[in-house]
């Protein structure tokens, strides 16, 4: 409802039809925000989907120090996101930041990280991956432990190589969990806000402005609640579809 009204904290709300949507479409930041959000989600999936799975498969084979690995991988998840964002902002500092110091030490070219339009978004994806990987790894580990050992044994007797066993036993057996996590990750990463807000302020040149950040800007910087709600409604329709599929699948499984 609010999406179709012109409202701010002062005047009475009036009905403006699709004007808020039109205003959004004319805003160059609107396109940038959606583009960045999709790129961010895409990159987060490429890194945040394959890496935890590979890591979980690897950890599941190690017979020692299991508790250490689980604690270490989950530690970043427990650190408050604000602290993580501030910490990485400090690491990314092109001057005395840890990352460029490490690159200089290895005699590699340094990067501008979050200060350059080409690397800023990737830098944020790295932070988000570091912070959230632990939960995904633990979920995969639990799923891997549910795979009956006989399947591997039978596959090995049939002469299946290591890779073939991963391809024909591990992956099919964890397919359901993978799908669940994929949907959850899409819904979660599409709503990214804390990292761009703290680390880049949406810049440089709108390179890291996201949809949720733009909603925040419309509502709490421009005080245009109507347009903020119009944008929220778009996000809701888009993500609601993913959530609906997710809920349907979980209920069918249980």
């Amino acid at each position: 409802m609010l999406a179709f009204q012109q409202s701010n904290s002062v005047d009475e709300a009036t009905w403006v039809g699709l004007d808020n949507f039109r205003l959004l479409f004319d805003d160059p930041e609107f396109g940038a925000a959606w583009r960045n959000t999709f790129t961010f989600t895409g990159l987060a999936l490429v890194i945040g989907f394959a890496v935890p799975f590979a890591l979980a498969v690897l950890l599941n084979e190690l017979r020692h120090a299991k508790t250490f690995f689980r604690i270490a991988v989950y530690l970043p998840v427990m650190i408050p996101p604000v602290v993580t964002a501030l910490l990485w902002k400090w690491f990314y500092d092109p001057g005395p930041g840890l990352f460029n110091e490490a690159l200089r030490f290895l005699h590699l070219p340094t990067s501008n990280w979050t200060n350059s339009t080409s690397t800023a978004l990737v830098s944020l994806v790295l932070v988000a991956t570091w912070a959230n990987l632990g939960g995904t790894v633990l979920i995969y580990l639990a799923a891997l432990q549910g795979i009956p050992g006989e399947l591997y044994e039978a596959a090995e007797l049939d002469g299946a190589s290591l890779w073939q066993r991963i391809r024909h036993v591990t992956i099919p057996q964890t397919r359901f969990v993978m799908l669940m996590l994929l949907l959850l990750q899409i819904v979660a990463t599409m709503q990214v806000f804390t990292e761009p807000y703290i680390m880049t302020g949406g810049g440089p040149e709108d390179a890291t402005i996201t949809v949720l950040y733009l909603i925040y800007k419309y509502a709490f910087v421009y005080l245009d609640y109507g347009s903020a709600c119009a944008l929220s409604a778009m996000l809701l329709v888009f993500l609601g579809a993913f959530s609906a599929v997710y809920l349907r699948l979980t209920r069918e499984a249980s």
Binding site: E61, V73, L75, P80, V83, P96, I139, Y197, I215
Partner: protein
């Protein structure tokens, strides 16, 4: 337990196994523990040493008083207290109301129970961020009573209670409790409240623990919502306060503040790590 690679194969390739093992340990230490180490010692460095090139792995001069200075000058006690108050209230209200609602829907089976549950579950489909602005406008002028809850912990507590996920988790747990116990209690003349208190709750410790941890962690970690509802710095939780400090306070103090803000969460994790890790694995598989 048999996994991808059998134990006998591993025994034959002992050198390879230990090489991979050491590699993974080293990788984990660098990737996950080193950043935390860097933060903890960074806060104990002098301002000059923090910007020195190349950086020092171990501070050449320890300044542990940075932590005390940060605590005093940034008034961390107030902000930690605010966060703790917000988390405690959200936890208590969620435990009381989500438990009552879940018990009612699971065991008392009211008329339209299925419709109500469907409505509650439908809210899970709505991404939290899409409701940000409507939620804010609701808190600014609460319907019916017309009070403004900005700067009040109620702004955190009230939305937190409407937690469909925790309610659903509790309801499903209650569904699985053996009916015989509840029926026996009913025959003995125990009313609905007594059955909840003396039969259901004592059996529900594990799920109440999980819900408690979720509730506390969610409030402690949240940033965007408290950023909106606490414009008064004295009332703001540590997460919002830290970001404000990061603009003008000395770097070592901000880093010390970051460490202090993380300590309660990390401590909670280390104490309950067994339950948390088991809960994440089990919860995901059952949805």
């Amino acid at each position: 337990m048999r996994t991808l690679i059998s134990s006998s194969t591993l025994a034959r390739h002992r050198v390879l196994y230990w090489t991979v093992f050491s590699g993974v340990v080293a990788g984990f230490v660098i990737a996950f523990l080193f950043p935390v180490y860097w933060m903890v010692v960074g806060a104990a460095k002098s301002a000059e040493e923090l910007v020195r090139t190349p950086p020092t792995l171990v501070p050449s001069q320890w300044h542990p008083e940075n932590y005390r200075d940060a605590w005093d000058t940034l008034d961390l006690a107030t902000h930690l207290g605010n966060t703790a108050l917000q988390a405690a209230g959200a936890w208590a209200l969620q435990i009381v109301f989500c438990t009552l609602a879940a018990y009612a829907l699971s065991r008392l089976r009211p008329v339209f129970g299925a419709v109500i549950l469907g409505g509650i579950l439908a809210t899970l489909m709505v991404p939290a961020s899409a409701l940000l602005v409507p939620k804010y406008l609701t808190i600014v002028d609460v319907p019916l009573v017309h009070v403004n809850l900005l700067n009040s912990p109620l702004a955190i507590w009230l939305p937190a209670v409407a937690n469909a996920f925790n309610l659903y988790l509790l309801k499903r747990f209650f569904d699985q409790l053996p009916s015989e116990l509840l029926e026996a209690a009913e025959i003995d003349g125990a009313g609905a409240v007594r059955r909840l208190w003396h039969v259901v709750l004592p059996l529900s410790r594990p799920v109440l623990g999980v819900v408690s941890i979720f509730a506390v962690v969610a409030v402690w970690q949240d940033f965007l919502w408290p950023l909106l509802v606490f414009f008064d710095t004295d009332k703001s939780p540590i997460s919002v306060a830290l970001v404000q400090f990061s603009y003008d306070a000395p770097v070592s103090h901000v880093i010390a503040g970051m460490v202090i803000a993380s300590v309660p969460m990390v401590a909670l994790f280390l104490v309950f790590q067994r339950h948390i890790i088991a809960g994440i694995g089990a919860g995901s598989l059952k949805g």
